[in-house]
Amino acid sequence: MGHPDAELIGRWQKGDTSAFEELVRRWQQPIGRFLARHVGQTDLVHDLSQEVFLRLYLARTRYRENGVFSTWLYQIALNVARDALRKRRFPVEPLCDREPVANGTPVGELCEQGELNRTLTDCLAELPEALREVLVLRHYEGLNFEQISILLRVPASTLKSRFSAAVVRLRKRLEELGWQEAPEERAP
């Protein structure tokens, strides 16, 4: 069991660089995952992750003990992702230009799982940024709507609406591309 984040922060602010390195090891995967889902370009994720922890290192003195470290770190990651999206020069290839999978093909019959993952990633990238942010933070990072509200400075009720809209849109988009749930599944 490692030291809590708050303790590591405290040691780091007093000059213990090993505490900072421990924080990096602990959070590099979640932050990398968040950036990959949010930006949608896996070749940028490594550089963006470096940028996140660089900004964290430079902001050492700004962290206040009454804050939650994960929220602060995700705020930095969100800013890095937004900056990258603003600067990006490449257009997102619209999925409507691709040939759809044959109608009614169950998931299990798709040629490669990789093709599905790529399609899913691209569908996520197609979502408006505001919807995608909430979906990624809720589903992949497991933050609740109150935590996301603090992070994004948006009311929780608005975030819930955005989250529902993101999920429904994603589901409809995959359906347009030929994805269909297995017919034998039923609700609990």
Binding site: V24, R33, T42, H46, N117, T121, N144, F145, S164, A187
Partner: protein, 219 residues
């Protein structure tokens, strides 16, 4: 609640985020096959999202430290430049106001003076060389020059400037006054000359007129 309303809440139901609306949604859900089918699709979608692999990230701490040092150096350089600029402006203001810098143009020359004395020069009694003993001492090459000597010399130079400036102003005033008097004289002379000419003319007229009148009369 109808199906359209319930479907807006299905993602929240799936993730356990429903609260106040939960009872109404659950009640409709229990009896609506269409909504149940939609819910199942969302469950499958959630599974797909979970199955998507995440990239493996390993942050290069050496690069982080190197880049942090570089950015801090850039920030420090900017602060230094701003500080130097501020000090330069403050120094200039001190020179201008602290040393009472005076800049003006006189007789087609740019004149810059510092610690200029007040302009209430008494034109009557001025001694341009108030410290003749100090001047005599400085003129002696054998005597050592102290800081006090330099200060007194500086005071003499300023006094000389003030004297020359005041003298120039006085002379300008004198010349102007003389010019005005000359104009008056010239004007007065002209008037007297004109009056003289008139008198002379009248005299001639009278004399000539008398002589002609006298022609017919016996002396």
């Amino acid at each position: 609640m109808n199906c359209n309303q319930v479907r807006e809440f299905l993602p929240l139901l799936l993730y356990g985020d429903l609260s106040a609306e939960e009872a109404a949604v659950t009640k409709h859900f229990a009896t609506c096959p269409a909504c149940q089918k939609e819910y199942a699709a969302l469950q499958k979608l959630r599974g797909l999202l979970d199955a998507e692999p995440a990239p493996s990230i390993k942050v290069n701490l050496g690069s982080v430290y190197a880049e942090a040092a570089r950015r801090q150096e850039v920030r420090l350089r900017r602060w230094r430049r701003a500080t130097y600029a501020l000090v330069g402006v403050a120094a200039m203001l001190f020179i201008i106001f602290g040393l009472k810098l005076e800049v003006h143009v006189q007789a087609h020359q740019l004149i810059v003076r510092w610690n200029a004395p007040e302009q209430n020069i008494d034109s009557g009694a001025r001694d341009p060389m108030p410290d003749a003993p100090a001047l005599a001492k400085l003129q002696d090459p054998a005597s050592p020059v102290t800081a006090d000597d330099i200060r007194r010399m500086s005071a003499m130079i300023h006094a000389l400037y003030a004297y020359v400036d005041a003298r120039d102003k006085d002379q300008h005033e004198i010349v102007t006054s003389l010019g005005q008097r000359l104009e008056k004289f010239q004007y007065g002379d002209n008037e007297r000359w004109k009056a003289t000419q008139r008198d002379l003319s009248n005299l001639i007229t009278v004399c000539l007129g008398t002589r002609e009148g006298d022609k017919g009369a016996k002396p």
